[in-house]
């Protein structure tokens, strides 16, 4: 055991694993540490219990052997089947029942044949288990370990544990006294002690409750002030920064407008927290594309999208064509705003990009101009969709993109 430090690879440190444990992980931890099967260590511990020594050993190990780190627990330990039920869930109930049955059987045997069944010992064990539970409750790290199984039932579980611990200690203490034939003598003392304890509780209770409330209040305050600090940091990094930039660039209205729009969009998405799934659905992707084009070219783009669906290859091409249309509108139309409308039908995805700018004569566009023909019309046709451009000089331009949906709509 002293060589663990020098050979960390062969002999894992003695810890109580988070996964694959039956009671508190002592058996499993020992087995992993010694490199033997967990069944062996568990049976050995079980056998030792009948001298009473095993229980003491177990309790001491629970108290002093640290729990495995959370990060280590995520990687399945060597030699442990990651797919096994015990590996995935906290503990294997059926195994636990088997060991309990074994313990019960051995206990009956001991009762029948053994002369060394000492009731007193059992009450000491009760008391010890109760005390262990109470001590566990007091240790925040261990408490966290116990509660990590279920966040919802946290507080009620913790109360149940405390209650069980107190009950076991009381049973242990009273049973010990009964079997030592000292209960009658101790009764007067017990009554006295109980009265004193009750009195002290009555005096101390309001004070303790006050302390607890005070602590809760403090905690709330702390959370609130943390939130405030976070908000202040966000405002500082984004809004104040942009306002400074705007003051510096005051002579350039286009740049000022661009900065204001960028900041507005950032703040908006922060406030309303749209899910960041820009790569997966049409609506978010369309908004992202528009935001990028707007940032580069400085013309406000308003996006309205009805319905939503995941992006497939065809829709991906449609989004690229839409981006090209937005870029064209920003660069050449001279319009002060661009409207983008996306609509997801059960059969197809439509995107309209519209400006109220100069417009142009479609027939006059030379064949070799890549922008419109290659990036928009050609791209849509290659992917099985279609594109239409409606424009005339002075009437603005609308690019209409249409792409059939290939996959069946999910759900």
């Amino acid at each position: 055991m002293t060589e663990t430090a020098s050979r960390p690879a062969q002999t894992p440190r003695l810890v109580r694993p988070r996964r694959g444990r039956l009671v508190a992980g002592v058996g499993a931890g020992l087995a992993r540490h010694l490199g033997i099967d967990a069944v062996v260590t568990r049976l050995a511990l079980l056998a030792l219990c009948f001298g009473g020594v095993g229980i003491a050993v177990y309790i001491v190990l629970v108290l002093f052997v640290p729990v495995e780190d959370a990060e280590d627990a995520d990687a399945p330990a060597a030699g442990e089947d990651p797919q096994s039920e015990a590996g995935r869930k906290g503990r294997d109930i059926s195994q636990l029942i088997a060991y309990c049955a074994l313990a019960g059987g051995l206990g009956m045997l001991a009762l029948l044949f053994g002369g060394w069944f000492e009731p007193v010992l059992w009450f000491i064990i009760f008391g010890a288990i109760g005390a262990t539970i109470l001590w566990q409750q007091a240790n925040p790290a261990l408490r966290e370990e116990w509660m990590s199984t279920s966040v919802l039932a946290q507080s009620s579980k913790s109360w149940a544990r405390t209650g069980a611990g107190i009950l076991l200690v009381v049973i242990g203490a009273i049973g010990f006294l009964v079997f030592q034939q000292q209960l009658s003598e101790a009764r007067a003392g017990l009554t006295f002690a109980a009265t004193i304890i009750a009195g002290i509780s009555l005096i101390a209770a309001p004070w303790i409750i006050g302390l607890v409330r005070e602590r809760d209040k403090e905690r709330r305050e702390r959370i609130r002030s943390q939130e405030r600090a976070e908000l202040a940091a966000h405002i500082h990094d984004s809004v104040l920064h942009t306002l400074t930039l705007i003051q510096r660039r005051a002579e350039d209205p286009r740049e000022v407008q661009r900065l204001a729009r960028v900041q507005e969009r950032a703040l908006r998405s922060w406030l309303y927290q749209r899910p960041a799934d820009a790569e997966t659905t049409v609506k978010a992707a369309l908004e992202r594309v528009a935001a990028e084009v707007e940032e580069t070219h400085g013309v406000p783009i308003e996006v309205v999208c009805v319905g939503d669906c995941p992006i497939d290859d065809g829709i991906h091409a449609e989004l690229r064509a839409a981006r090209e249309a937005m870029v064209n509108a920003s660069k050449y139309a001279g319009s002060d705003a661009i409207s983008v409308f996306g609509e997801v039908d059960p059969e197809e995805v439509l995107v309209f990009v519209r400006d109220r700018g100069a417009g142009f004569d479609l027939d006059a566009v030379p064949e070799d101009r890549m922008g419109v023909r290659g990036s928009i019309l050609g791209r849509m046709e290659r992917h099985g969709g279609s594109a239409r451009i409606r424009t005339a000089p002075g009437e603005g331009t609308e690019v209409q993109l249409r792409m059939p949906r290939r996959q069946e709509p999910a759900g």
């Binding site: 406000p300 308003e302 309205v304 009805v306 319905g307 409207s339 409308f341 609509e343 309209f352 519209r354």
Partner: protein, 240 residues
């Protein structure tokens, strides 16, 4: 505009509003009398300046209580209403004014384009919704339109309505209210694409008046339908 035909029911006079009524503000040239309700003084004066002579601003207010006071006292043709107001928000103003003064029109104006805000205030009784990025000319246009009894939909509001009425999972409880007609849908789609009413009319070969009728009809459905999405948006409205 405070004539008898403007009944208690919001949807009652839609579509006929320009029939036998006296000429609207658009034709007569008299600017509508407007109260601006917004908690930012800078914004109020900005709007006042931008609107110029197109409307007659007769009052301002910065919170719910003073808004109710000013509106009850001045009885304007139209209230330009901010959605986020101290004291309960724009919806609260609508709730306190509309039951007793159904003739006063409301045009909601907000920086927010979240569905909850938009749908909430429109279902509260506003006849239109525009965002604060709107230009002064467009805003004046929208004010005149709403003051004349029409509805004004921004592209985004049109998008929300299409979204809300497109989900077909549950059978509508009231087919007349819970469904849009094919024509209404077409009109909304064009508005969402950024078309002005005039352009919508040209595109569909119908008159501007007919477009206005369709939009008013959609507004009525939007305000009265019990579609799940609408009630959810309306109740989920947060007041910042």
């Amino acid at each position: 505009m405070a004539d008898e035909s403007t009944g208690e029911n919001i949807g009652e006079n839609i579509g006929e509003s320009t029939g036998e009524n006296p000429p609207g503000f658009a034709e007569s040239g008299t600017p509508p009398r407007v109260v601006i309700v917004d908690d930012h003084r800078l914004f109020r004066s900005g709007v006042r300046g931008e609107l110029g002579d197109a409307v007659d601003v007769i009052g301002e207010a910065g919170d719910v209580d003073s808004a109710v006071e000013v509106i009850t006292e001045k009885r304007p043709d139209l209230v330009l209403l901010d959605v986020h107001l101290p004291g309960g928000g724009g919806s609260e103003v609508l709730r306190r004014i509309l039951p007793r003064n159904p003739e006063i029109r409301f045009l909601a104006l907000s920086v927010s384009d979240a569905a909850e805000d938009v749908i909430g205030v429109v279902r509260g009784g506003a006849r239109g919704y525009v965002t604060k990025t709107i230009s002064g000319r467009e805003l004046a246009d929208a004010i005149v339109r709403v003051a004349d009894g029409d509805a004004v939909f921004s592209p985004r509001l049109a998008g929300f309505v299409l979204d809300a009425f497109s989900a077909t999972d549950a059978p509508p409880m009231d087919p007349e209210l819970d469904r849009l007609t094919q024509r209404e849908r077409e009109v909304l789609r064009l508005i969402a694409r950024g078309y002005a009413y005039k352009e919508v009319a040209k595109e569909l070969f119908i008159s501007v008046k007919t477009v206005e009728t369709h939009v008013s009809s959609v507004l009525r459905k939007l305000q009265l339908s019990n579609r799940h999405e609408l009630s959810r948006w309306a109740t989920a409205r947060r007041l910042v």
